[in-house]
């Protein structure tokens, strides 16, 4: 289980407008590309000084590749990162203000506290 890597994916996609669009349009392709090219980049180190050990589990790869925010919540993704990126990708598809945010909440409606642990 690599909650940190899920969060790193959400974080590095969310801060890049081109990657937000790419992930929206081609989730599985973007996840595969990111895992092979970006997952091991240490953000404040030169590209050559990369890590060697970070990879998704199958469940994590499927959840990210399926835009499955319920599964990502249940895997312990950081909820701020999750919400922010998914608003960026999908709010535009809803006519009413906050309609996406409310659907997001409703789809998690079976959850009561305590929620999945977001500690990394």
């Amino acid at each position: 289980m690599s909650k940190y890597l899920i969060d790193k994916f959400l974080y590095t996609i969310d801060r890049d407008p081109e990657l937000v669009e790419r992930y929206r349009e081609d989730p599985r392709g973007t996840v595969d590309w990111w895992e092979s090219e970006r997952a091991n980049v240490i953000l404040n180190c030169p590209a050559a000084e990369r890590s060697t050990w970070l990879e998704f589990t199958d469940a994590e790869r499927d959840a990210l590749g399926g835009h499955d925010y319920v599964a990502l919540f249940e895997l312990g993704a950081h909820t701020f990162l999750l919400l922010t990126l998914f608003i960026a990708m999908f709010e535009r598809d809803y006519a009413e203000p906050l309609a996406f945010q409310r659907e997001f909440a409703a789809r998690l409606g079976h959850w009561k506290v305590p929620y999945p642990d977001i500690s990394t």
């Binding site: 801060r15 240490i42 919400l83 960026a88 945010q101 409310r102 909440a105 929620y115």
Partner: protein
């Protein structure tokens, strides 16, 4: 010695700018009341005639990341660029720039470290809406130099609530002992009950109105004893999964001084989360 011109604690609501400037059908029904409350709150800072602002807030995974996460950090730079692409995208916040007071930053870092807080520092910090929201609400001309103080209310493991209070008390004591003739306002923003990315988000009120009612009274009376007795890192998950931002209010209660009632207190029940505004004038009680 420096004068603490005002101590201000507030929620920071990134939607205020958009709501307050919207017109016609886009203007939400609560906008006029919200603007009136903010303008009254702004006057509490204006009348304190500050020269410099110590600004307590928290990075929202912008510059600070999980590969190197400080618990408490003070910016020491001559200038702070502000706001990020994803804040522009989601909240309509503009890019901003704020001058820094490096002398006060250096003084707080040295004094804070010597007082037992192993503070991180940053010489190049791009601040986010936790700092710019109170600039927009309280000092929209953005003309005063700042010292940003960042806390980790976001990424477990976080410091204990008690530690936030103690840091607030230390900042108060340090600023009061600063050999300067400047008037310093200490401004901190956090949250009451708040849910982000969970089933209780974006409801008609904050996720836990009962917590909010108690929290507003704790803050208004700086009732640290009750707040510390009821609040823990574990308990803060219960009112809403982003409620650890309340610890920045606890820090500000430490700045204000235990059991010192706020000279100004106001709140506004909005969708999603409750707004709350508090000002103390330590000068008047000296």
């Amino acid at each position: 010695m420096a004068t603490i011109a005002a101590v201000i604690a507030s929620t920071h609501h990134p939607f205020y700018l958009r709501a307050s400037t919207a017109t016609g059908d886009d203007r939400p029904p609560f906008a006029d009341e919200w603007v009136a409350k903010i303008e009254a709150f702004r006057e509490t800072l204006t009348r304190a005639r500050p020269d410099v602002l110590v600004m307590v807030g928290s990075d929202h995974f912008h510059q600070l990341w999980l590969d190197n996460m400080p618990q408490f950090l003070i910016g020491k730079a001559p200038f702070y660029d502000a706001n990020y692409y994803n804040e522009e995208r989601e909240f309509g916040l503009p890019r901003m720039g704020l001058r820094g007071d490096e002398e006060l930053s250096a003084y707080l870092l040295r004094g804070g470290i010597d007082a037992g807080f192993d503070l991180a520092f940053s010489n190049e910090l791009r601040v986010d809406h936790s700092i710019t929201c109170p600039i927009i609400t309280l000092r929209p001309q953005a003309d005063l130099p700042i010292v940003p103080v960042y806390t980790n209310i976001f990424a477990p493991p976080m410091p204990q609530p008690k530690r936030f209070v103690e840091l607030g008390q230390a900042i108060r004591a340090l600023v009061e002992a600063w050999p300067s003739d400047k008037r310093v306002a200490i401004i901190g923003t956090g949250h009451l009950s708040l849910e982000l990315g969970g089933p209780r988000q974006f409801g008609p009120h904050g996720p836990d109105p009962e917590f909010d009612r108690k929290a507003v009274e704790w803050i208004a009376s700086a009732d640290l004893k009750s707040a510390l007795a009821e609040v823990s890192l574990d308990s803060l998950w219960l009112p809403g999964n982003a409620t650890h931002g309340f610890m920045d209010f606890m820090l500000m209660m430490g700045v204000a001084g235990e059991n010192v009632r706020a000279d100004y207190a106001d709140s506004l029940d909005l969708f999603h989360t409750m707004e709350a505004y508090f000002t103390w004038y330590p000068e008047a009680s000296r």
